[in-house]
């Protein structure tokens, strides 16, 4: 089971004493660290060539084995055409200096020590539950310690309430704390910030768009909820239209939708998979995927983040050994093998190496489950996600999953694929059997956005948005590299993690940036590896060049103040002209 979650969230979920103790072992640290990134260079043969392009390592294209796969397994002329001008993924996962690593460790120990000290000196101010003498604890001691004495000190960096649209700008409700973050009080003031935190990739959150008008219209026409499940009288024509449009947009046969993105994974994976199957999951997969895999009862193996070599190794050994615990000398192959990957990893900013994984999947007859929660709409020439970005055939992916929460500024999720698959899900998905159908205005908003993206509204607004986002991403990432900040992930990914390493620096960064009217998100252990604390920026098509310049200036100032310029890669000093950025 994947114990390390790479979730969307910053703080102390899933923490338990055992996991912590495991990790506090020194050896674990180093291996944990290697698992993350440093192995990347020695496992990947192409990295031997170490080409640097503006501080990025060239991966993907020159991999010999991959080329072999391509010749062998990807027939059909249209693919070959795509592969000839194949995508060069410019990725970077730069290692910090050893001293930074040591300091990060030290600071974590100091933080924990201070936590224990203050727990001893200042007992928690929260009330005890009444009349519960003799009852066992509801949750373990360590998690309450961690949340009260480690996380509480920086609690003001998260859960900031907003009172406006989470568009390119967002209005935060100012709050202060008089008792070291035990409680907060609202000052009644509001603070307008540049929004670098919300997943509003295409900028559709803005309620002035035509999509929102359509949503309001549908709210009056269909009401706010259908009050029933999809299978039993909860389906209305909006749902049917949405599913048709989604399938058309993605270029697959059919699609099914659900009212919540998280539940799309956690309620459908168990319906599709039974014990006796093998699930191979990327170590940075989202919590909802991990939960779904756990609920299915199948065996789970974890491969190193985005490491195709490791994935292949696991595939080979697993096919070789088959299901465990068989009678002697008997070989029982796995019922089915599934590979679970995400399009864009929300904490790493990396893009899945899809063509290689499709090749592997074909070679080893596995099935591929692709979670496009962050990538749908955000990348690709026409916004169709990572499949579009690499120019792959959507039919090569067995199960395409995605959410409408991010680029579509709505809620819910979908699963798309072959007609048979969707029909099976319509009948057996827990989501359509037991859960409430999607709210009509939410559905209408997605329909509106899809129409804009597909150009069905008769304008090219959708295309403009996709291009603006791509341009913003390139500009922002390249400027950050010039400043000398270490960023993770792929050049084209609108999720930009900026590494700050130290715990206290996460808080410092987020606080200073909010003071300067920029809303960003800080992420630390356990959502990321212990040594890789970071702040994360999510770019949007709604951001203008002025917005980005302001954010970059502020980031540079903060970086100077607290020392974040860790990058030792050669810097391109040529000024970057926003308008002249070439888009892939």
């Amino acid at each position: 089971m994947a114990t390390r979650t790479s979730g969307d969230f910053a703080i102390t979920e899933l923490i338990n004493e055992d996991a912590f103790q495991n990790r506090s072992h020194k050896k674990e640290y180093s291996s944990l660290y290697q698992n993350g990134y440093s192995k990347h260079s020695d496992t990947n043969s192409l990295c031997k060539q170490k080409k640097y392009l503006n501080g990025h390592t060239l991966t993907s294209s020159s991999d010999e084995e991959y080329l072999n796969f391509k010749d062998k397994y990807l027939n059909g002329t249209s693919h070959n055409k795509h592969f000839k001008k194949e995508k060069v993924l410019k990725e970077s996962f730069e290692k910090p200096l050893l001293i930074t690593t040591l300091l990060t460790l030290l600071s974590f120990y100091v933080l924990m020590f201070l936590g224990y000290l203050s727990q001893a000196l200042f007992p928690p101010k929260v009330l005890k539950q009444r009349n519960r003498e003799g009852y066992p604890r509801l949750y373990d001691k360590f998690s309450s310690f961690y949340s009260r004495y480690v996380y509480r000190r920086v609690r003001d960096c998260w859960n900031y309430p907003i009172c406006s649209v989470p568009g390119a700008e967002v209005v935060l409700k100012d709050r202060i704390t008089k008792d070291h973050c035990w409680t907060f009080e609202f000052t009644g003031l509001e603070r307008k910030c540049l929004n670098l935190g919300s997943y509003n990739y295409l900028g559709f959150a803005d309620p002035k768009s035509s999509c929102t008008e359509f949503a309001i219209e549908c709210a009056h026409k269909y009401g706010l909820s259908t009050g029933a499940t999809r299978q039993q009288y909860g389906t209305n024509e909006l749902h049917v239209e949405l599913e048709k449009l989604t399938a058309e947009f993605l270029g697959v046969e059919d699609a099914i939708t659900f009212g919540m993105g998280f539940a799309t994974n956690s309620l459908n994976i168990p319906a599709l998979i039974s014990p006796g199957c093998l699930l191979i999951s990327d170590e940075r997969n989202h919590a909802s995927l991990i939960l779904g895999m756990r609920l299915s009862g199948a065996t789970v193996k974890v491969f190193r983040h985005n490491d195709v070599k490791d994935l292949e190794k696991i595939l080979r050994t697993q096919i070789y050994y088959g299901q465990p615990n068989q009678p002697k000398e008997q070989h029982k192959p796995w019922k089915k093998i599934f590979i679970f990957v995400e399009g864009i990893y929300s904490m790493e900013g990396s893009i899945v190496h899809l063509p290689q994984i499709i090749a592997l999947k074909k070679k080893y007859k596995a099935y591929l489950y692709l979670d496009e929660a962050h990538s749908i709409g955000a990348i690709g020439k026409s916004g169709k996600g990572v499949v579009d970005y690499f120019g792959c055939d959507p039919k090569d992916i067995d199960i395409l999953m995605g959410t409408y929460t991010k680029s579509f500024a709505s809620a819910g999720g979908y699963i798309a694929g072959s007609k048979k698959l969707i029909r099976f899900l319509r009948e057996h998905s827990y989501g359509s059997k037991y859960a409430c159908a999607m709210s009509p205005p939410v559905t209408a908003q997605i329909i509106g956005v899809l129409k804009v993206l597909m150009g069905k509204d008769g304008t090219n607004l959708g295309k403009t948005r996709i291009e603006t986002l791509a341009r913003n991403t390139q500009y922002f990432r390249r400027r950050l590299a010039q400043i000398g900040l270490i960023t993770y992930g792929c050049e084209d990914s609108p999720v930009v993690p900026i590494l700050v390493y130290l715990y206290s620096k996460i808080a410092m960064c987020v606080r200073t940036l909010i003071q300067n009217n920029i809303a960003t998100v800080g992420v630390g252990y356990p959502a990321t590896p212990l040594l890789e604390g970071r702040i994360r920026v999510c770019l949007s098509a709604g951001h203008t060049k002025e917005h980005l310049d302001y954010a970059l200036d502020m980031l540079e100032k903060v970086a100077d103040d607290i020392g974040l310029k860790h990058s030792r890669l050669p810097r391109d000093t040529k000024p970057i002209e926003y308008e002249k950025i070439e888009l892939n």
Binding site: A205, A263, P441
Partner: protein, 433 residues
């Protein structure tokens, strides 16, 4: 001499530990790795034949039959008892106007989880209003009713814990148990004696881990039967065996009790004795989403440990606003709970007067569950009755041999009359076949 001995022991002790560790480490390394036979591997790869992606034998129906579309309620005489619409909030135009204002102000979606700028002030309002309405310390909001129950349970129950729960517990809760990996003991539906026996049996076994917690998880009104849980007796047992009790009030919240505070108010139980109440906004409130309420110290834990809360985008603001509007009505006009109760009892009495049907649900429950008196071929009979009623524009949920109908406050005598005559007719047609 003594000190020397001590010193010697102090040195030898760690030395032995180090030695053992080294030996262990080395011996582990020496073990020859099982070589993979390349030929065999290639053969296995070539001959590996996975099962198809989906089990085709499990596809039974055509699309049309699987997803029954919502009926057109504008047709006169249409009686939609399939949807949950106790107070007719789904058709409330005031709510829609409020939602419009909200969408104009906040947009449709919230574009982020609660932690990352997805907390809109409406969420905070709804959370405090819910806590106030139930007179508890704090509440936490989820974006989907199903995930509320499963996530909230798995945030507390751990692998080492044991859960006692009713055998008719909802599917969502069962998913929560699965996610928690706890040991689950089911007791007979609403049978407190059986529960006590199971508990005694468990205590007898003794030798339990110290840190193990025992949970009792029940529903206020069971979604599968429409019956009410015997809460006073359960609370006694809880007290006696020191159980932590969670109540799933998805259906009973806003229905039972004089002021709609659920099953606890109905039985006059002090809510602070309940560890957590989980509920859904999809029931009486006519919105989408869910919530958990309890003491601050309990609820606080969910904000960091509940997967469905932390990792999911927050509830669309307008859906929270709708729930706030519904709570306004609950607080300003508590008379509606009495009205609903009257209709529930009336419908129950009428249904019980039918000679071919058994009513399983409680008279007070707005969810009525009926089935045929004859046990043979129940599934086919109910399907046939369901079809007859549908053809007469009366829509109910056909749930594997049971008919489920949701009472609404707008049902008048003629509607009930029509329902009864149709059910009678259907039963006759059914018996003729």
């Amino acid at each position: 001499m003594d000190t020397f001995k001590e010193n010697a022991l102090n040195t030898i002790g760690p030395a032995i530990i180090v030695l053992v560790c080294t030996v262990f480490y080395l011996s582990k390394k020496k073990q020859p790795k099982k070589e993979i036979n390349e030929e065999l591997l290639n053969e296995r790869i070539l001959t590996y034949k996975p099962e198809p992606l989906i089990d085709y034998s499990k596809i039974h129906y055509d699309n049309k039959d699987i997803e029954i579309p919502a009926p057109d309620e504008s047709i006169p005489g249409c009686l939609n008892l399939a949807k949950v619409n106790y107070f007719n909030f789904l058709n409330n135009h005031e709510f829609r106007k409020e939602a419009e204002v909200c969408i104009k102000k906040y947009g449709v979606g919230s574009c982020g989880p609660r932690g990352f700028y997805g907390t809109v002030d409406v969420h905070l309002t709804l959370e405090s209003r819910l806590a106030k309405f139930l007179q508890m310390e704090e509440s936490v909001l989820y974006s989907y009713g199903f995930s509320t129950i499963s996530s909230a349970i798995s945030a507390y129950c751990k692998k080492s814990d044991i859960i006692f729960c009713d055998e008719k517990i909802s599917f969502a809760a069962a998913q929560g148990f699965l996610a928690a990996k706890s040991q689950v003991v089911y007791f007979k539906h609403n049978d407190t004696n059986d529960l006590e026996e199971k508990l005694k049996e468990y205590e007898k076994k003794g030798k339990h881990k110290k840190r193990m917690s025992k949970f009792l998880i029940v529903e206020g009104i069971y979604a599968s039967t429409g019956t009410i849980c015997p809460l006073p007796k359960l609370m006694e047992i809880r007290e006696k065996y020191k159980l932590r009790i969670f109540i799933d009030e998805s259906l009973s919240f806003g229905v039972l009790g004089k002021e709609g505070r659920g099953v606890t108010e109905h039985f006059g139980i002090d809510r602070s004795d309940v560890d957590m109440i989980m509920g859904s906004l999809e029931g009486s409130l006519g919105s989408i989403g869910g919530f958990g309420v309890g003491a601050s110290i309990v609820v606080e834990h969910q904000r960091l440990s509940s997967l469905g809360y932390c990792f999911s985008a927050s509830l669309p603001p307008f859906l929270s606003q709708v729930a706030v509007c519904a709570l306004d009505i609950f607080e300003n006009n508590p008379g509606i709970f009495g009205e609903l109760e009257t209709i529930c009892v009336k419908v129950d009495r009428q249904l019980r007067s039918l000679e071919h049907y058994n009513v399983i649900s409680d008279p007070l429950s707005p969810l009525k569950v009926i089935t045929t008196k004859e046990v043979d071929n129940r599934f086919e009979k109910i399907t046939l009755i369901h079809r007859v009623c549908t053809s007469k524009n009366i829509y109910m949920v056909n749930a594997d041999g049971y008919l489920k109908l949701n009472v609404s406050i707008v049902l008048d005598d003629s509607d009930i009359e029509k329902l009864l005559t149709t059910l009678k007719e259907a039963a006759l047609i059914c018996n003729d076949n």
